[in-house]
Symmetry: D2
């Protein structure tokens, strides 16, 4: 990640603000507000605004529950209860806004989360930065043989080099031709004064999908957790997972109690089907179980055994 | 509106907070933060949190527009442009949260706005306050004869008295029977120690629709304006309009530039259909227009003439 | 439930339609299309339109998965896989529309599901039917002592009678005064020709929350399942559960494969937290577990044991 | 647009279905159901399912309005009234589903409409088709000088040729390297049996943004009109406008009455601000108007004059 001098200064200016407010604040989050956390080779994620903290969840839940809870349950107990029982609306009462720089093919996964507000940098209006994502060697993985939607072993030696070269060359070449068609360089300088440039909304189509874009992305705490649950999961593509992991850290700084409950009940938890429950009951009673009688597919069976770390039962 | 001592103290405690933050603040809104603005006889609306200000709209729009706008347009010009051309996402980048006390029949209109977050006081869990809405005399209107969905003249003398008496007696009686069924008074005291009470989730069905409820309601600036555009309109029922009017004031304190643009382009503006445009053009050219040749219904014709204050053309 | 002659005829007319279409159809659902299924004392639910069937889920998922799946997995396998792994968008590709008659206090729970389309009968515009919900004796339950949000034992003898009388009298009286204020009976007849009536939008506030309303409610299959998961659950209030149960039947007729997967993975399944997983593993290995070392609250512990029917471990 | 034999057969098979249904049908839309309407060089749009017709809007609006409207207003009058007064929910009661093939840079504009259901062809799972968009000569436009977000004159002779060559070469080369990295051709044949291929989820990043993707896209009638209003507008980028135009045709076949009202009130209509209304009133009265006293910006002034075709007043 490289920021221009001006961008760095703009960030510092925001960080040097010291405003007074009667609103609740999240002190740990304030410490990293506006800071660009580097992700991948040129990306970043930074928190640019937020609203509410753990107490806001309790506050709104208590309106919906009325007088009475105050004595019975501490904030932590209530938040854990709400999480465990899939209450949703109290977690919607907190809001957070990120500025994210990310490769376009990752932006296309991300945007599938619809309950969020987005303003993306417009390549109809402006020229995109000359930055594209190239995987580091340890993330240059082969297609998985067992899982059509996953990665296998890391590519070795020459093949890895060749792939990286192709990615680099194609990105550079298509970007250069993007500039040629625009008749303008990424820094705004005109290439040939006698010529006009192709419309920006057209020229952009020549860029490769690893070109970086950026956006403002705002969502409430519930939908942030929905996002993180899917995207910080090991099934998620590595590249989006790195963003989700960094955002998990910001979650912890923002709403630490909610973070703990989220890790326990969602991220670290598992679902068990009706058929799976019967199997687990039998295992606890020491009864024999077989795939045939379970009603489960082999894949489902193995997913269940792995969820409870019962490797001896894998088939 | 009457608040208990405790409630007043809780509001004062929140108002006395003085936190430091690097976030942007809206100074005029801070002044009335947490304050319960009285609405109708027992209702209120109060801002309990917010995120962003006018500059947040510009900031996110400029990401989506990229470098360049900074020089060309002032914030005000950009916000007006965005409003005029129905840009939506930049206005979603600000968020506000209200605590509202309101009659149930109004809550039922309000909740139809789906893009918002809500936590309502639970009458399954708690006992509702002994408060119900009774219209003041000047709002006790007869059914409109011309508009099936509107109000006509204010009721006079005896009939007004009779109506108010019926509303008051029925609300008091049904509330008292609510307590009887619960075997508990609204203050928590038990009526008959030897008896059990009906489940709260059932007893509540005996209450009338003018009973007050309360909720936390949070939405983004775009959807707040959508709400206000419909509910501060003169077609809206008076009772919800009083809430919308008070919220318009909070909008002005929060995002004054956006407020001006909203009043000019949305609240004070009008839509003209394709057929209506032709009529207006003819009027400007001094040509004769007739209902028959206009393709408009009589009602539509009159709506158009009123929109431009052309009362001589009413039919 | 009583329908007027005209209403019955309108339903029959719709049922007698026999249109040709190239769209997929759900034959079992067609059999009950438009039919009013009675719920509670005066309510009903009826399917009035639908789009798609089980095959539509597979069809859209296969676009998103591309060529290849066709050979590997049968429709059933794919639908089960999608359900197990919380895929959401393929289930959004089916849509259903209900016409529902229901008490207002239940409508207020229902409307909290925001991802749906709703048109409700307008009491600003029209007079509400003279129908209100009175619980049958076996559902007249006392407030639960252990669960503030639940029901306990059924009320007995005299108290039950008294409660039913109060509910009935108050509903009848407030409805009668509603008519008086309107100066119009529910059948449209004017009470006193010399008088004007109170505006409908005001008079309705005198009605009790057990008055019946009705609406068209349309949602996609994913959000229908979200609704049913919460509202057909035993924690849901009995009155809304009866609607959800009837709708579960329509789900089965509409998308039978999805229904089976839904019952297995959602309705009959359970979630286990990270801490809960460790306990289950220990139980399977025959190790000793204690509440103290588990990190669970007592309540959480008991919920886990009940989920796996381990009643001996209840504390 | 080229379809494989198999794809053509699949479409024919769906078109040859003849199912019976009690649901309402839209006969004109049935005629083109499943048909792939060609768009751009390789794209298409086809209606694959729908629910409801014009009568469904009236039906649900009449529930929300109750008895009474039946006599007063015809379906057409009611639909026009609803459209004119921005009623939204009745139009949500119809639903339509499209299968669309489109360049990725257009898909990225399209997906910004969030109130829709989408399943996209997965390039994590499958290999994308070897098809990319190349503009035809008459659409190869230069960047507009006056509007940073628009197109100017069409490029001439040599420059046009050069741009087309660059676009073609880069797309072909990056696609070929995509295959090389995958170690697999688009037809599934392996390139080098001794090698493994790069993971699909990575290799795709080498493709240019004019590569075609495809998806199932489903939305309700209200949100379809919101989409068309913005995307069939002359401010929209030409490439997405061609899709919107074709979809306008399907709208007309589906709900002809709604289509007429939509064209009159939305597409052909205009908004006038509070300040603009005063200007129009003055023009009608024959009074003099000046930019200075109007409170409008020059740009706003000209937009207003153009809306009413008052070209003599342009500044």
């Amino acid at each position: 990640m490289k920021l221009t001098k001006e961008q760095k200064q703009e960030i510092r200016d925001q960080q040097n603000q010291e405003n007074k407010t009667k609103r609740v604040t999240a002190p740990e989050l304030e410490k990293i507000l506006y800071e660009a956390i580097p992700i991948l080779d040129h990306g970043f994620v930074r928190v640019v605004d937020y609203m509410g903290d753990d107490s806001s969840i309790v506050q709104s839940a208590r309106v919906s529950y009325g007088k009475g809870t105050k004595k019975v349950s501490t904030d932590e107990g209530l938040i854990k209860y709400l999480m465990r029982h899939w209450h949703s609306t109290p977690f919607e009462m907190c809001e957070i806004k990120y500025h994210v720089k990310l490769p376009i093919f990752i932006a296309r996964q991300w945007i599938r989360h619809r309950t969020a507000n987005v303003n993306e940098y417009s390549a109809r209006y402006s020229i995109l930065d000359k930055e594209f994502y190239l995987p580091s060697k340890e993330h240059l993985a082969a297609q998985s043989q067992s899982n059509r939607q996953g990665r296998g072993e890391v590519l070795e030696g020459d093949q890895a080099k060749k792939v990286l070269n192709l990615l680099k060359q194609d990105a550079e070449q298509t970007y250069e031709n993007y500039e040629t068609m625009l008749n303008e360089r990424y820094d705004g300088s005109v290439i040939d004064e006698k010529n006009v440039g192709l419309a920006r909304e057209l020229a952009r189509m020549n860029l490769t999908l690893n070109t970086y874009t950026q956006w403002y992305w705002k969502t409430d705490l519930l939908n942030l957790m929905n996002f993180l649950r899917l995207r910080a999961d090991h099934h998620a593509q590595y590249e989006i997972r790195t963003y989700a992991d960094a955002m998990l850290d910001t979650l912890k700084k923002w709403v630490p109690i909610t973070y703990e409950a989220f890790m326990d009940y969602r991220v670290g938890g598992t679902e068990v089907s009706a058929k799976g429950k019967i199997l687990i009951q039998k295992l606890i009673k020491g009864e024999k179980i077989t795939l045939e009688k379970s009603g489960l597919s082999k894949r489902e069976w193995n997913e269940l055994m792995l969820a409870f770390n019962l490797k001896d039962n894998l088939i």
